[in-house]
Assembly symmetry: C2
Homo-oligomer: 124 residues x 2
DNA sequence: TCCGTACTTTCCTAGATGGCTAATTATCCG
DNA sequence: CGGATAATTAGCCATCTAGGAAAGTACGGA
């Protein structure tokens, strides 16, 4: 439950997803494989930067690359995204239970495990 | 479709989630609010480091903080996680359609939009 | 054989990140 | 008041990141 072997992989996946250019690239790849130049087209960024972004995505296992003539086509590999989903969905009950339970949370804001003061102080 | 206002927020959220210590902290908070010391207990890391991690999570909007005596309790705010879920689930059809379609992908690895050579070369 | 196309690699800079120790702030309690 | 507890801030260091410019590699075609 707590620590799965994929835990370490999630580091790289989340890091790769933390950049909007890279997310846009994935979005593009969601509708089919593409070459580096095609992926770069929508951006004002220079090619080498896109190349680096692609490498990050590749190392995160989010894309697979081909090798056709001088082209290095990219294809989306959704597997790490499935792990992201698995991780995230564990919290779904929490955000769905939020009928302004947030308010409750802030009132429950005294520590639970130990008893760090606030014993006789009543609330607030 | 392409760019939503939350897009920018996702940057920080994904970045915050890209560290296993921070994900563990969220995991802990999923079962109730906690003080900084309580959150730090499972780690061998020093307090200031935990403090920084908490600040990252806070700036990403993933936790809300209270102020009770000398304690600064933390509570999970799942809202950004919901956005992560929304983003990720758009790819679910892709990873669910993978009845080893990956193989297909690798065969379809010629670019589609433009015609970068490979015209008379047939396949493979 | 040489040119153009498609990328990648190398080197640079500026800024963020993750960890530490030491010092500081804030609050409660005796 | 003075001490203990909770947590942050400040400073230091090593490493990583995002970008660009310039040079290098690899392949196809005339």
């Amino acid at each position: 439950m707590t620590i799965t072997p994929d835990e370490s992989r999630l580091d790289g996946t989340f890091a790769a997803l933390s950049n909007s250019t890279r997310r846009a690239i994935l979005g593009r790849l969601a509708q089919g494989a593409a070459t580096v130049n095609e992926l770069a087209a929508p951006f004002q960024m220079k090619l080498p930067s896109i190349s680096k972004h692609i490498k990050v995505l590749e190392r995160a296992g989010l894309i697979q690359r081909g090798h056709r003539a001088q082209y290095r086509p990219c294809a989306l590999d959704p597997a790490p995204l499935e792990q992201v989903s698995t991780w995230t969905e564990r919290y779904r009950p929490i955000w769905e239970a939020r009928f302004d339970r947030m308010d409750d949370y802030l009132k429950t804001l005294q520590p639970a495990t130990k008893e760090p003061a606030t014993k006789g102080t009543t609330k607030r």
